[in-house]
């Protein structure tokens, strides 16, 4: 095994690391903004609100991220009429397609987490809030969300990790993220083991940082 390759090509990996990080971070952030209302409203009594949200969550949780990305990236280009519109300005960029796919994907998964933890807030605690005259918004803000947040942390840290892992498919649509860098290095040196091992190490750094930060956060709730 020859790791001098990796040392030679390290700037390449570093820029890949940066691409992965900002892609994942941005999509997580926007995804969360989608997820909280989606998770809370997917059980709304109006079908006009409920069903589109459920369809969205169903589609993005039900099919592979890789396929979603292909569908957005190569699929969108199949329609010539679309290419004439302003949307093409964005869709023609690989990074935008990846960001879009990732955001919608994590949004759907996180919405499911929100739904799950909110549903398991002990009924009695919600009743107590009602009994003390809190309105729906206040109950949500003061009791349900803080109570749920603590229990959502493990699931959400998993979601972040899944997202970091999932982002590896970005390398398939010409984006030079960590995996993309490894692919290029492999292509040049025909050393898959070294190239991908280096990528694996970088991903590990990312995930363990996330795990560590969440452990700290969870600890602050222990009582």
């Amino acid at each position: 095994m020859d790791f001098s390759i990796i040392i030679n090509e390290y700037p390449f990996y570093l820029s890949g690391l940066w691409t992965t990080t900002w892609l994942v971070a941005t999509s997580l952030l926007i995804g969360l903004l989608i997820a909280i209302p989606a998770g809370l409203l997917q059980d709304h009594s109006w079908w006009i609100i409920k069903w589109p949200i459920r369809a969205y969550m169903y589609f993005f949780r039900g099919s592979p991220l890789l396929v979603q990305l292909f569908l957005i990236y190569y699929g969108a280009a199949q329609f010539e009429s679309l290419r004439e519109t302003w949307a093409w300005e964005f869709l023609q960029e690989a990074w935008f397609c990846a960001l879009l796919a990732f955001t919608l994907n994590t949004g759907a998964y996180t919405a499911e987490i929100v739904r799950g933890v909110v549903a398991t807030v002990p009924e009695g605690e919600v009743e107590a809030a009602k009994a003390y005259g809190m309105n729906r918004w206040k109950t949500l803000k003061r009791i349900i969300l803080p109570n749920a947040l603590r229990r959502a942390l493990p699931a959400y840290s998993n979601e972040i990790i899944f997202m970091i892992h999932g982002s590896a498919v970005a390398g398939i649509v010409t984006i030079v993220d960590i995996t993309g860098a490894a692919r290029v290095v492999n292509a040049r040196y025909y050393a898959p083991f070294e190239a991908y091992l280096a990528a694996a190490l970088l991903y590990m750094c990312l995930t363990f940082t996330v795990i560590y930060l969440f452990k700290l956060w969870e600890k602050s709730y222990q009582h």
């Binding site: 009695g124 009743e127 107590a128 003390y132 809190m134 109570n147």
Partner: protein, 255 residues
Amino acid sequence: MKAPTLSIKNLHKSFADNHVLKGIDLEAHKGDVISILGSSGSGKSTLLRCVNLLDIPSSGEILVNGELIQMRKDKKHGIVPASIQQVERIRSRLAMVFQSFNLWSHLSVIENVIEAPVHVLGVPKKEAIVKAEALLQRVGLYERKDYYPGQLSGGQQQRVAIARALAVEPEVMLFDEPTSALDPELVGEVLNVMRDLAEEGRTMLVVTHEMAFARDVSNKVLFLHEGLVEEEGKPEIIFENPSSERFKQFISTVY
């Protein structure tokens, strides 16, 4: 005469085809302490829960301070509150101690106690804390004020729940077996607290199995049986001279 603090008229409640309450009437004036007795499953908790609309009555009227809680027909649920704002306003004037405490598990003891005063009634936080600490002193839990509910024994949780209810200075207090998890000594202490409240002129509805409390502290006793008020009256009268066979039997078994 002033309107009664709480007035319940012909209250019915069914769960599916289980008809639990079959027409309850009740009137509580300022300073009344009403004990609700009844065997297990007779609907005592359900009655309390209907008062602040945690369970929605199937029919009947509830008035707080003469204000009728407006209901409207609903296809799915029979009737539902017409104005959720009204319900919330009224709830903020009632306080409930749940049979299973239902403390907020993500808040510490003191936070549990100040939560409603600060975030529902808008009491300044500092002020609320001062009062909460006094209340915790009163129920003997001042040292545990930074514990979380999960770290307390059953009896301790129950006392926190009582402090939480007292903190909102409610017009009506609803107690659902407030001493069930306590040892006799603590029972005595908690009942003393409730006696004080009674003397302060607070209106209370107390579901209890403590006959002594029913007899000595309350000024009215209600005995529920099969969804109806089977016996009702001043304790000194009905304990001496029960008119209902069932109630006679009920109190005769008490040790």
